[in-house]
Amino acid sequence: MKYLHLLWRNLLRRKARTTFTFLSIVVAFFLFGLLMAIRNGFEGGVEIAGQNRLLTMHRMSIIQMLPERYLAQIQGTPGVRLATHLTWFGGIYQDPKNVFAQMAVEPDAMLRLYPEFILPADQRQRWLLTRTGAIAGRKLAARFGWRIGDRIPIQPTFWRVRDGKPDTFEFELVGIYRGATPDVDETQFFFRHDYLMERVGKPGLVGWYGVQVEDPARADEVARAIDRQFANSPAETKTATEKALIQSFANQVGDTGTMLTAISAIVFFVILLIAANTMAQAVRERTNELGVLKSLGFTDRGVMGLVLGEALLLSGTAGLTGLALVLLAVPVLAKLVEAFLPVFYVPARALVLGTGLAALLGLASGGVPAWVAQRLPIVEALRRR
């Protein structure tokens, strides 16, 4: 710590050079944080997905619907604590560009299955009493400026209304939910399944089932047990853990993980060269001074430490600054990308990794110059300049 002043003053030796190197590292780490946030937005769900939740879909594809009567059988499967259904609505609110998830559900069961959706008790009560009631996530409500009590008209696309009334579904916003943690999607819209069925002629269909198991360790077993019940029936099921499904979805998008990692690697490599070049120049210019320090009694190792320390100070502060900036920027950007990436934040592990990389950058960029400094023969060094 007592060497901090010396390291600091050495960095200020060439203000322009230090500043440029500093700034390029800041930008690189800002970008790194951004890439991690994007990646987390696509794949992050994998980590936090409810460990004890399964989803039962139609075997052929997610767009196929399942019979409503399956609920009782699924609920009765050993190992199942709770089961409910969700149905995709896919309607249009004002403009086709306004894209958000709309699902018909059983209010009480859905909220119990997804405890991460936090809804005040009075709003929950209201929903149970209001047939046309709907709840929206906090971010969604903010996006459209919805308030409790507003009428939300949504135009169906593939659902055919059969009650003789105009197509449009008029919902009453009875509640706004928020997520228990930052990784919960607050851009979804839920309304009542019984209302949907009423309007479309009661076909007795649902999109898929959400299931909570008693013991996460036996999740796969329970999944198989559920599917066995419907094997060889007209509507066969495929049950998988939520985690597996999210991973599968992420895979569908593509190997974004690899691509983002590749970009991060290129960025790191470029920045490493820039920083290493700066440190190499810095040491080259100071041959004489390093000799002087050695003459004063600084050991070879000590001098090496000073160079590494300088590199670490530069890379460390720049890297941490970049990470700090991206932490500030992402919540602002989140509003812009909400439609595509409802979950957008810099995950903690990215910060840990980023800090590690900043340290690694310091060591790697200072490594060779430090080695050179260590090996400088004193008499030679003193002779220069």
Binding site: N10, V292, S295, L296, G297, F298, T299, V379, L382
Partner: protein, 229 residues
């Protein structure tokens, strides 16, 4: 006889540049008693600076022995020499060799960073050293803001701040004008007379050598008989 602080025994130093072989020192024997102010004179290339470097532990002899303050430096490792230097030697260079990015006070503090002294203690030593060389009021100036003479004073302050056994000066007045040189030599003389510092000074200036207690001549790697001081 006072114990010799420096004992040089039949020291040879050979430098190799590719296939070339240069014998810089060819058998030097020397004793420097404690409290002496010794000047080493000689033409350039005579090996006087090399001898100084060996005494200061900046280099090791090819053969022979160098014993300073009771410690045999001949086969010491680079690390041991560094440690030893920090404690026992202070260097004063012709071109001052101050770090331009540090203030005078911070430059003087450098050797103290190698000790376990606290920040406050280090500061006290620095202030004392600067006061001794008469530069207390320039403590926060950068070398670029100091005159040549002042820079050298800082150099001397840095050299004495750890209270070393030995002060080694390599052409300390080489870059200074007559008057300033005189001031520096006065300072060195005072350090020797009043504070009992053992000083070995390499110089080619006879007027500087005149201030020393003893003068030895080095020519082509050997000590020549002392001429009248």
């Amino acid at each position: 006889m006072t114990a010799a602080v420096v004992e040089v025994r039949d020291v040879h130093k050979v430098y190799r540049r590719g296939a070339e072989r240069v014998d810089v020192l060819k058998g030097i024997d020397l004793d420097v008693p404690a409290g002496e102010f010794l000047a080493l004179m000689g033409p350039s290339g005579s090996g006087k600076t090399t001898l100084l470097n060996l005494i200061g532990g900046l280099d090791t002899p090819t053969s022979g022995r160098v014993i300073v303050a009771g410690r045999d430096l001949t086969h010491a490792s680079s690390r041991e020499l560094a440690r030893w230097r920090a404690e026992h030697v202070g260097f004063v260079f012709q071109s001052y060799n101050l770090l331009p990015v540090l203030t005078a006070a911070r430059n003087v503090e450098l050797p103290l960073l190698l000790t376990r002294l606290s920040h406050a203690e280090r500061r006290r030593h620095v202030e004392a050293a600067l006061a001794l060389v008469g530069l207390a009021d320039r403590a926060n100036h950068y070398p670029a803001q100091l005159s040549g003479g002042q820079e050298q004073r800082v150099g001397i302050a840095r050299a004495i701040v750890t209270d070393p056994t030995l002060l080694l000066c390599d052409e300390p007045t080489g870059d200074l004008d007559r008057e300033t040189a005189g001031e520096i030599l006065d300072l060195l003389g005072e350090l020797n007379a009043r504070y009992g510092k053992t000083i070995v000074m390499v110089t080619h200036d006879p007027l500087a050598a005149a201030r020393a207690g003893r003068v030895l001549h080095v020519d082509k790697g050997v000590l020549v008989a002392a001429r009248a001081a």
